[in-house]
């Protein structure tokens, strides 16, 4: 009997869960997770499951904000409508090197022991096809948003992820990020050519 697992499931029950994923790294998952969260119409909890890079706290400029703990759990950092839960607040400014066998329980601990507010939960996933997906499948019925760049390597890897999601009967929204760059009113396809459900340009002001 696993109290950790039961509590993590309980925390996600009755929530609308969205997972921003891609097996490939550096495609813009964290950037898109932040943008989607900020654009939701009500309070949202954004959970950074990329336990090694913890990029979201940096994107929001809160990586040195120490956490508080209440009777409800680890309290998130609030930025506008976004309640951010990140390992960055727990470990503060230092590396997290972790064997694979600990990963899924660290993710469960982050979910179970945090105070999750609002109706929406957005998960920013690390690259890979591993524990992050398996844990989310165990704990909730999430909606997947798959992010890719137009490069052939990234598209191939995303195809693997979509194959897997189809097998698990999950329909994904595909976002193609960094699909083009506007250079002197001319469109340059730096990383290749592909069309998704949503296509985003390269923005140097990001």
């Amino acid at each position: 009997m696993e109290p950790l697992r039961e509590l993590a499931k309980e925390k996600l029950k009755d929530k609308k869960v969205i997972a921003i994923m891609s097996a490939k790294g550096g495609v813009g998952k964290s950037v898109i997770s932040a943008l989607i969260s900020l654009s939701l119409p009500s309070d949202v909890t954004l959970i950074d499951l990329d336990i090694h890079t913890m990029a979201i706290a940096k994107l929001f400029g809160v990586e040195n904000v120490p956490l508080e703990v209440s009777k409800e759990g680890i309290e998130p950092v609030k930025i506008r409508n976004v309640n951010l839960i990140s390992l960055a607040g727990i470990v503060r400014d230092r590396y997290v090197i972790l064997p694979g066998r600990n990963q899924s329980n660290v993710m469960k601990e982050l979910i179970a022991y945090s105070s999750i507010k609002g109706k929406y939960v957005v998960f920013d996933l690390p690259p890979g096809l591993g524990d992050e997906i398996l844990v989310l499948e165990e704990l909730s019925d999430f909606k997947p948003i798959v992010v890719t760049t137009p490069s052939k390597v990234s598209l191939k890897v995303v195809k693997y992820l979509l194959d897997y999601l189809n097998e698990r009967k999950k329909k994904a929204l595909v976002v193609v990020n960094m699909s083009y760059f506007t250079c002197n009113d001319q469109r340059v396809n730096l990383f290749g050519n592909y069309n998704g459900d949503v296509n985003l340009p390269i923005d140097p002001n990001l």
Partner: protein, 142 residues
């Protein structure tokens, strides 16, 4: 304060998995998370009021001392061998330190006393319910 989350996880686990009223539950926790047993019991006694299945349940807490094994050099060691490292982490962060909140983070903070690797496996670091007694029966649960 984290003790309240642990107590809540126990209450939720019991109410999700049992139909009969429970008289006693035995919870095992690892030594290095330094949970406050008094606060844990106080939180459990408060939170158990929410559900008839557990409203009369007594919480017994056992503290388990894990053993450790380095997957780099294959040596085994005890808590006493890393006690100083754990103390330094505690002093650095304060009461709600990372291993208090998330025991599975142990390898991120503790190095093998022999070779310095973080590839440490702890046997017995999980928080689990060892035993549940229902009114009128004894049930052993793993």
């Amino acid at each position: 304060m984290h003790e309240w989350s642990i107590a809540y996880s126990v209450v939720k686990t019991l109410t999700e998995n049992f139909n009969k009223k429970i008289s006693k539950v035995t919870l095992v926790i690892p030594l290095f998370s330094f949970l406050d047993i008094e606060i844990l019991k106080e939180a459990f006694n408060e939170l158990k009021k929410e559900n008839p299945i557990v409203e009369n349940a007594e919480l017994e807490v056992k503290i388990q001392e894990p053993t450790f094994r380095c997957r780099n050099c294959n040596r085994e060691f005890k808590f006493s061998d890393i006690q100083q490292q754990v103390g330094e982490v505690k002093n650095s962060y304060g009461e709600e330190y990372p291993l208090h909140l998330m025991p599975e983070l142990l390898p991120a903070f503790i190095k093998c006393p022999y070779c310095g690797s973080h590839d440490i496996e702890a046997i017995g670091q999980e928080i689990y319910i060892e035993k549940v007694e229902e009114y009128g029966a004894v049930e052993r649960v793993s």
